[in-house]
Symmetry: C2
Subunit: 181 residues, 2 copies
DNA sequence: CTACCCGAGTTCCCCGAGGGAACTTAAGGG
DNA sequence: CCCTTAAGTTCCCTCGGGGAACTCGGGTAG
């Protein structure tokens, strides 16, 4: 496979994807943030091969997303906890979950709810503008080269935006669900 | 590899990850939403193997995330465009990008900026509560089983939350950067 | 004191997915 | 008539994932 190295591309998505763009990493982070922090618990909960789990965990520790630490001395046992860098992946998980809920929840509804302790209500996460709080969409944002971007041919950033897309038709979550079946 | 099927797990993250948890899919969606919609353009821009690109694209079309459509008749040429389902992956991309910016942007700053056309300012996306607009974090949210969840042993949802985590130390983006180097 | 469980990995083998490059098909263009 | 472009497809090779067994350090039960 020799996964193409994406970490050095001038794109934050590529960099994030280099770590996170793996079927297991998101699930591992979900579990760790959820309180499933022990090796065996993760292996059992995820159904992941122990070999791959060990590899992912050490990669995540290398990256500073998790820390391996002893949680009891006798017998010595280690587990994994999220660092701040790891915790900040939470919005990514929320976005994935929200999307999965919208497009794959059966008629029964989503498998989980997120309760916001701040306002006490079950909530859905939205990607909002840090300044005005309005939701950010493909349609109301545009991308510009940033200071850290080696701006040049081939430089890819997110979003010069849709060319023609004013139809409004296309599918709904329900249609999507049906199509997926 | 025989990638373990995650799509049928009672977790929206797993379902989303089943599609999106692949190094290339996020980059492909970024490009398509960005206006890079032609096969060769994608292959060239991403440096992805044409074989894998073809496989990913047809998977994404199957899933209803992209549509393959003719953009000129003579000679007949097809390209790919995002459906609504595809566009709604935007928040996931934004979250990944934001995280990448926070933790991997060099001293020069992030490679790209997001301009919110609504308020006209360069913005950073935050995951906010749909009700009160407050940012959602690991610390201020909790998860509860949802209606669609087969609640039982082994059911994993996001977030019963951190046990002990009131230290406040650990690393900062800068420390993380340094550690990653 | 020995035998039997953990928890946390590591090792082994097999197979299939990804990389890479060449080949194909269809329609212009010089 | 041959070259070029777009959009894939095919082939071979390697490497990483699945799966299960094995290891290793340290209890704990009998």
């Amino acid at each position: 496979m020799t996964r193409t190295p994406l970490a050095d591309v001038a794109c934050s998505i590529a960099r994030a994807t280099d770590l996170f763009g793996d079927a297991w990493t998101a699930l591992i982070m979900r579990d760790v943030l959820t309180g499933v922090t022990r090796f065996d618990a993760l292996a059992h909960d995820l159904g992941i091969s122990r070999k791959v789990l060990a590899a992912r965990l050490s990669r995540l520790v290398e990256e500073g997303v998790l820390v391996r630490e002893r949680y009891q001395e006798r017998p010595p046992r280690e587990h994994y906890r999220a660092t701040r860098k790891g915790e900040e992946l939470y919005p990514v998980l929320l976005a994935l979950m929200e999307w999965g809920d919208r497009w794959y929840a059966g008629p029964a509804g989503p498998p989980a709810r997120i309760r916001h302790l701040g306002c006490g209500r079950d909530t859905t996460p939205v990607s909002a503008c840090a300044h005005c709080g309005e939701p950010l969409t493909v349609g109301n944002t545009t991308q510009l080269p940033g200071p850290g971007g080696r701006t040049g041919p081939g430089t890819r950033v997110l979003g010069p935006l849709l060319s023609g897309r004013e139809d409004g038709r296309e599918d709904t979550p329900e249609a999507g669900r049906a199509a997926a079946v």
